[in-house]
């Protein structure tokens, strides 16, 4: 399927599942008022002969004989996916949409690569392919390594043998013979084991490009060539300087191959986080079509399908529960390990695990649109972005290799012109050592590999970081502004206090009020009903019910007239408020909304309803302050209510009475405040993180240096946000900052290590220590150091995989 092919309006061949452009369809048929388009005359014939749609699953047989090889055939035969009957125009595919019969396993991490059709199989298959390729290149490199080592080590031992006086005599005797033999046996090593270096260096050279292989090829190549010239024409060199370095060339190749092989292995480990997410997908789904239960591959679930999920099974795609209830473990997406209770009407997330009950749900998002698929895509995008800290490295690394070549030449010239005898030998050895020890790899890898691990790790904990820049800024945040409603609090009112007056019991008053409120749709009424249920009170039906807009409700319950509502309702009902006042004032002080209850025209009591604080908000706020981050609360509530909540969660600074559209401005003022503070010689510029919901708070999130959107359920990857907290908990902010700090620390360690390594290694290899200590670095040691340096970087980055948010308990490991 060419990427362009899905751009136009398209339909799916009901027989083979291939995508068909109506303008180019080989045939059209109508059945039951539905028009079908076909990829080939064969498909149409089958359909007209009565074949049910989807009969020919995987039916390569339908392919038109004329269809040419390549993409067309692949998309026709390779599909084998089911197509549901298509209402006219109902199954159009937008550019990025993958419909029912998409060959793309849309949740694939690589969905946006627009890979060629043959590779658009199932994600699992492709991932195995990539893994297989990686394993294969590891094996090849190891074989090449062993070959190089098998030749190199004996040569190395012979070189040492020259230092044994008794052997030295006979060795000298056969010097030239040994030399020729060495030249002959090392050549295949260069040609086979070292081939990739030479090839890549040559290819680069032709493109005016250099890379790490250029250095390896130059280093080993010049060592070998010099040795050959010294062997064939020793007369060219001053007496006693015609040394041979065959073993150097071979051992260096062996070491670097070993280093690369280990690197390949470690790298595959660091990208494991994202693959792990994909493995969590359900492979099949049990859908109910035409009253029958069918097990279908998850790719074939279409929007609108009714899907059955039994206890212990995974929810295959995103959707809304139709029937049944259950506790669902959504930790795959939210990082929250406590199962969430869901019932009819609630959203379920694909790949979450159904724990207790069976239920059916209607699929609302499939393929690339599911929460998990979007998370994977977002994480991958973030992983390929660059944090600002990496930009300096880019500058350095683009000049790195040619610079090293120049340093190598200068080293050679310095030794030739100013070095002690045997100057030529020293010049060759140092030049080769410089070429070999320099490691642009360590520099180039330092940032991206840590970023990859860090971003993946955050995702595991339900924290989606948009890009490297967001990660870097998050690590330096000084202030976090929290929106009150929906961020610190649950964002929906809950019953908190039941305060009956004399003559009523708590239970009785609450029951009367709850029954009266039962038919009301107001959130405050719902909170009372929910609260009564939670206390185990049986609720009957009101005999009569009337909602009084802006006031409350009036109803007849158990033969009594019940009014539940605000102060205005009581005035309307001519109920004296005198008895209420004390309690009402206290509730208001606590930031709660008092709901007055009157029975038969007489005051019965007050019910307190409040937007309650999320269980973990206090913990998270404490953790943030423990990390040295100032916490500010912002809300549209009045000062009194805002203070009440702030006191409960331990926030000192409150910005109250802020209209929604002013939030961004308040954030800006905090930023300015930080700047002027710096001018006065204070703590310096503030970096502000803003936490809120992705819709109402979008301008404020955008204004902040880092915007954290609190997500709930399926609305992941919120556009305005730099960081999306999928779990909806404030703990995510803590985790995000912790992961960012850990990742940045890791990147800095890597960069520091790589810089220091090169800055120290290259001069030592060039022989700066020789005049002082008489120390010259063997190119073999240089090769080992170089291999070790890139492995160190990758290994250090992989340490991040063991990152656990420490400060907040209860987050899933």
């Amino acid at each position: 399927m060419e990427a362009t092919a899905v751009r136009k309006e398209e339909f799916v061949d009901p027989v083979c599942g291939m995508t068909v452009d109506p303008a180019k369809a080989a045939g059209v048929s109508e059945r039951d008022g539905v028009r079908y388009y076909f990829c080939s005359a064969g498909c149409k014939a089958k359909f007209d002969a009565g074949a049910p749609a989807r009969e020919a699953e995987g039916g390569a047989s339908c392919c038109a004989p004329s269809s040419s090889a390549g993409a067309q055939e692949a998309s026709c035969c390779g599909g084998g996916a089911a197509a549901a009957p298509v209402q006219l125009g109902s199954l159009r595919r937008g550019p990025a949409a993958y419909g029912a019969a998409a060959h793309v396993h849309a949740a694939s991490a690589h969905a946006y690569y627009a890979a060629p059709p043959q590779s658009q199989g199932r994600a699992a298959a492709r991932d195995t392919g990539a893994e297989e390729a990686q394993a294969e290149s590891y094996r090849t490199m190891m074989r090449k390594f062993w070959f190089a080592a098998a030749v190199g080590v004996p040569l190395l031992l012979m070189m040492f043998a020259e230092f044994v006086p008794s052997l030295r005599e006979s060795m000298m005797h056969y010097h030239r013979l040994i030399g020729f033999a060495s030249a002959v046996v090392t050549l295949p090593v260069l040609a086979w084991s070292g081939r990739q270096f030479f090839e890549s260096a040559w290819n680069g050279l032709r493109n005016h490009n250099t890379n790490m292989d250029t250095l390896v090829a130059l280093g080993t190549g010049s060592a070998w060539l010099y040795s050959v010239v010294a062997l064939v024409a020793p007369g060219l060199f001053p007496a006693g300087t015609a040394g041979m370095y065959f073993e150097v060339a071979v051992i260096v190749i062996a070491l670097i191959l070993l280093g690369q092989a280990l690197e390949v292995r470690a790298k595959s480990r660091s990208s494991a986080a994202i693959r792990k997410l994909l493995e969590l997908q359900a492979k099949t789904a049990r859908v109910i079509r035409d009253g029958r239960e069918l097990d279908v591959p998850v790719e074939e679930v279409v929007v609108g399908d009714t899907v059955l999920v039994r206890p212990g099974e995974k929810v295959p795609v995103d959707g809304m529960i139709l029937e049944g209830e259950s506790a669902i473990d959504e930790s795959v997406v939210t990082g929250e390990s406590v199962p969430v209770d869901k019932r009819a009407g609630d959203q379920v997330i694909g790949s979450s695990v159904n724990k207790t009950g069976a239920f059916t749900f209607r699929a609302t998002k499939v393929g690339a649109d599911t929460a998990l698929a979007r998370i994977v895509e977002m994480v991958e995008r973030a992983q390929s972005s660059k944090p600002p800290i990496g930009r300096l490295v880019d500058k350095v690394s683009s000049y790195f290799v040619p610079s090293v070549m120049i340093i190598a030449i200068l080293t050679f010239l310095a030794w030739i012109n100013f070095g002690p005898e045997p100057a030529v030998n020293h010049a060759v050895v140092t030049m080769v050592a410089v070429l070999v020890i320099a490691c642009p790899c360590a520099l180039g890898l330092a940032t991206p590999i840590s970023l990859m691990v860090g971003v993946g790790k955050a995702a595991e904990h339900g924290v989606l970081i948009r890009n490297g820049e967001a990660l870097e800024t998050a690590s330096r945040l000084t202030t976090v502004v929290l929106d009150k409603t929906g961020t610190i609090t649950k964002g929906r009112p809950e019953l908190t206090d039941v305060l009956p007056l004399e003559g009523f019991t708590e239970e009785e008053m609450l029951r009367l009020a709850a029954v009266a409120d039962r038919r009301s749709e107001h959130p405050l009424a719902a909170a009372i009903v929910e609260g009564a249920r939670a206390r185990g009170i049986e609720l009957g039906e009101p005999e009569q019910f009337e909602a009084v807009p802006g006031h409350g409700v009036e109803a007849t319950v158990e033969g009594r007239r019940v009014a539940v509502g605000n102060r205005k309702l009581m005035t309307r009902e001519k109920v004296s408020l005198a008895e209420f006042e004390e309690n009402a004032a206290r509730l208001a002080d606590e930031g709660k909304t008092p709901m007055f209850v009157a029975v038969d025209g007489r005051a019965a009591g007050i019910i307190g309803v409040a937007d309650t604080i999320k269980e973990d908000s206090i913990e998270a706020i404490r953790a943030l302050e423990g990390m040295g981050v100032e916490v500010v609360m912002i809300t549209g509530d009045n000062e009194r209510t805002a203070r009440a909540i702030a006191r409960q969660v331990g926030i000192g600074r409150v910005l109250a009475d802020v209209l929604p559209e002013e939030k961004a401005r308040q954030v800006e003022m905090l930023q300015v405040e930080g700047r002027s503070d710096k001018e006065r010689g204070g703590r310096g510029a503030r970096l502000i993180g803003m936490v809120g919901d992705g819709i109402n708070d979008a301008p404020a999130l955008a204004q902040a240096d880092v915007g954290f959107a609190i997500g709930t359920g399926t609305d992941v990857a919120i556009e305005a946000a730099d960081v999306t907290l999928v779990g909806g908990s404030l703990r995510g902010v803590v985790t995000a900052i912790e992961v960012s700090r850990a990742t940045l620390r890791n990147i800095k360690q890597n960069l520091f290590g790589a810089f220091v390594y090169n800055v120290l290694g290259i001069p030592v290899a060039a022989g700066v220590l020789y005049p002082v200590l008489g120390l010259l670095l063997s190119p073999i040691i240089a090769g080992a150091a170089m291999a070790a340096s890139s492995i160190t970087v990758v290994t250090n980055a992989n340490r991040l995989r063991f990152f656990e948010p420490r400060r907040v308990k209860g987050v899933k490991a």
Partner: protein, 125 residues
């Protein structure tokens, strides 16, 4: 300084000059994208010791498809990254991997290998 030393030194200095010119100062020629079906601008890029072509001229606002084909065993080019577009693609040897992006604004966008050793430019006009 002997004559040999002088000659070697001169050769060395010459080599340095050549390196500076050849790797840093040399600028490749830009290649314009071919118009494909549906207004997609198509460019075939061979990955072999670098990107050929390394400079690609395209028009803004229309989708661009870069067909990358890696023709070497070296691992350097196995990943191509378009940082401005947030794209990363794995390039198996000898397989063509199309990467589609739509540059909205004129300017220069880089694409590089995973370690930033190979560099290509997308010149958007």
């Amino acid at each position: 300084m002997s004559a040999t030393q002088i000659i070697i030194t001169l050769v060395g200095v010459g080599l340095i000059g050549w390196i500076v010119w050849y790797f840093w100062l040399w600028k490749g020629e830009a290649v314009a994208a071919q118009a494909g079906a549906g207004g997609v601008q198509i460019v075939n890029v061979t990955v072999k010791g670098g990107y050929q072509p390394a400079a690609i001229v395209v028009e803004a606002g229309r989708p661009v498809r870069l067909n990358f084909t890696r023709r070497e065993a070296s691992l350097c080019g196995e990943e191509v990254v378009l940082p401005e577009f947030g794209r990363r693609a794995h390039l198996p040897e000898d397989k063509t991997v199309p990467v589609e992006v739509t540059p909205e604004k004129p300017g220069e966008y880089e694409f590089t290998c995973g370690m930033n050793m190979y560099k290509g430019r997308l010149i958007v006009r």
